[in-house]
Amino acid sequence: MSATEQTIQPAANIHPIDRLLRADRLPHILCAGCGIGTVIHGYANSIAASGIDENNHVCVSGIGCSGRAAGYVNVDSYHTTHGRALPFALGIAVHKPELNVTVISGDGDLTAIGGNHFIHAARRNVNLNVICINNFNYGMTGGQVGPTTPIGAKGTTAPFGAVERPFNLPYLAKATGAIFVARWTILHVREFHEALVRSMQKPGFCFIEILAPCPTSFGKSNKIGDGLHEVEIYRERCQVQNGAPHLNDFDIDLLDESKPIVVGNFVDVERDAFME
């Protein structure tokens, strides 16, 4: 759809959440069936529901498809370099503690090139809301395997299947010190929204992994079909285990039909936030 074909709608028809989106940047660059738009919408809704002055919300992202999220939300927003969203966000959050800073990142951005910053930001308990949109591969560059790709899944740089054990991100986040840890999928719109509002209201390092389809790259390489098909997988195989005491075996294998995908709000504890 080209921008010139859009008609300007009368003010009365503007969607109530439009004020939190940079509507003048639409249409977005994301593919049909991609889950990132759902996350952006969820973030905007959570800002509105957070009870925190909208001018005090800040969005920071890195590089990749998920990194583009910062460009579509109408708050102070920074699209930084690959892997460095967390330390950039730390600078903002530490200098102006009154700001509510959310990092929206992809799995590769946050836990491969940015992995060192992830474990240290969690250890410090920096006051950040960190959303990791996990689509199991590098989508922007065309479907390469990454640190979350399940063993055996294919990518353009693993044409015979990935051989490395992937990260179990909630387990990593909990082990390194996150005070709130959740995993949801883009099917769980309400649960994600509630988890994010909780994160915004909770001072400290809050981490939400959200599974999202990448039909163009990961889906196509792994016979998942379109985005709707992957959401069907979520619906059939997700098991909610809120408050699960142990996260160590919550690995995800999208391709193994016998394996459940465990989701939930796993951790919600108190610990002094960084510099408090």
Binding site: R22, R25, N55, N56, V58, V60, A70, G71, N74, V75, D76, S77, Y78, H79, T80, T81, G83, R84, L86, P87, F88, A89, L90, G91, I92, V94, H95, K96, E98, L99, N116, H117, H120, M275
Partner: protein, 394 residues
């Protein structure tokens, strides 16, 4: 300003930003004090020899002044954190040496592209790679100018004494804010680890400037984060001020929105370069000693300028027509002044001593067909006055 007696600088007063008075102070500490005096809000750094004393001094001093010190997990994090803090309005600073400076390069380009002011001290040591961590180098000169990919403008100062470590760091913060660029303090191990008298002025004599902010209220009209004024510098709005800015390392239009066209890119990158290039004569600083009638001019910076000053004085005593030109900013290089000197016609040759294999010499060679004699040491030691004098005599 009344000079007070030298103070024991190992126990600086808590809660005093500007330690007005005379001190017997380490170069690294003077750099830290310059940053603090200039209103430092946020320091993110990682220990590395021979710059660590800067971080240590800031760690000890800044919290009592309401600023934030964070020891980051690496230099990638340090530079990202200070740029982020700058986006939120902080006067922000980090200190490092060659290996850490290399790690910072990508995000130095981000700071240039987002036009977020920040100050980076690089206390140079013998390089490449790990090199000689505790020994002198001056070989990050070209990296400071060209180290991040692409074209962009920066400013780099080369202090030659602890006093200048203080003075130029204050200046660096002003320049960073004024031109919205990363500004480097290119120290070297000798100057960083040298203890001399440092005179810190009264706060009102520091002449601090601030950033140019928006000229309208947030709700009055959309704020254009990257719409430059006539001076080529856009006003800046920070996170939390209500202007809903967007900044990206992607090529962007005046709103800060990604604009993936060759035209926008060409215009943006030219402005990033021109805002320094066209103001170079205002920014450039240099010192001249006996250059007026000199047929031989020694061009030297940082620690090497100290040897050169001595050599030039001795040569004058011997009746040789010799002078010193000391670039205080290596970037922008004071080329207008050097062209003028060449134009006058007295100078017949240049001598460029430096602790690298000819990085600054290239700048002189670019400006003249006159002979440019080299005196280089790869690092670990600097040219002595005698070695420079010997070259002046021959």
């Amino acid at each position: 300003m009344a000079a007070s007696p030298a103070k024991n600088t190992s126990a600086p007063e808590a809660g005093t930003r500007v330690l007005t008075g005379d001190h017997f102070m380490l170069g690294d500490h003077a750099c830290a004090e310059g940053a603090i005096a200039a209103g430092l809000d946020f320091f993110g750094g990682y220990p590395i020899t021979p710059s660590t004393e800067i971080a240590e001094r800031v760690a000890r001093r800044l919290p009592a002044l309401g600023g934030k010190f964070v020891q980051m997990e690496d230099e990638l994090g340090s530079i990202a954190a200070i740029i982020g803090a700058s986006a939120a309005g902080a006067r922000s600073f980090t200190a490092t040496s060659g290996p850490g400076f290399s790690l910072m390069m990508e995000n130095i380009g981000l700071a240039a592209m987002m036009e977020l002011p920040c100050v980076i001290a690089d206390v140079q040591r013998a390089s490449p790679s790990t090199g000689l961590p505790t020994m002198v180098g001056q070989s990050d000169i070209l990296q400071a100018r060209w180290g991040s990919h692409g074209d962009y403008g920066i400013i780099a100062y080369c202090p030659a004494s602890p006093q200048e470590c203080f003075d130029l760091t204050v200046r660096a913060f002003n320049d960073a804010d004024r031109y919205r660029v990363p500004v480097f303090i290119l120290m070297d191990e000798i100057v960083g680890h040298m203890t001399e008298r440092v005179r810190i002025p009264e706060p009102e004599d520091l002449h601090l400037i601030g950033r140019k902010g928006p000229r309208h209220a947030p709700d009055a009209e959309p704020f254009l984060s990257f719409a430059p004024d006539e001076d080529m510098i856009p006003p800046i709005a920070h996170a939390g001020e209500g202007y809903r800015v967007h900044m990206t390392g992607l090529t962007h239009d005046e709103r800060g929105y990604p604009a993936m066209t060759a035209e926008v890119h060409n215009s943006l990158v030219n402005r990033l370069v021109d805002k320094i290039r066209l103001n170079a004569d205002d920014i450039a600083m240099y010192e001249e000693v006996d250059t007026e009638d000199a047929d031989t001019i020694v061009v030297a910076f940082g620690c090497t300028a100290r040897s050169a000053r001595h050599a030039v004085a001795q040569a004058r005593d011997e009746g040789l027509k010799c002078g010193l030109l000391r670039p205080i900013t290596v970037w922008p290089f004071p080329e207008t002044r050097i062209r003028e000197i060449i134009e006058v016609g007295n100078v017949k040759r240049f001598i460029v001593p430096e602790v690298n294999l000819g990085q600054l010499r290239r700048e002189i060679e670019r400006l003249t067909h006159l002979p440019v004699k080299r005196l280089n040491h790869a690092g670990g030691a600097m040219p002595s006055p005698d070695e420079i004098l010997e070259l002046i005599r021959t």
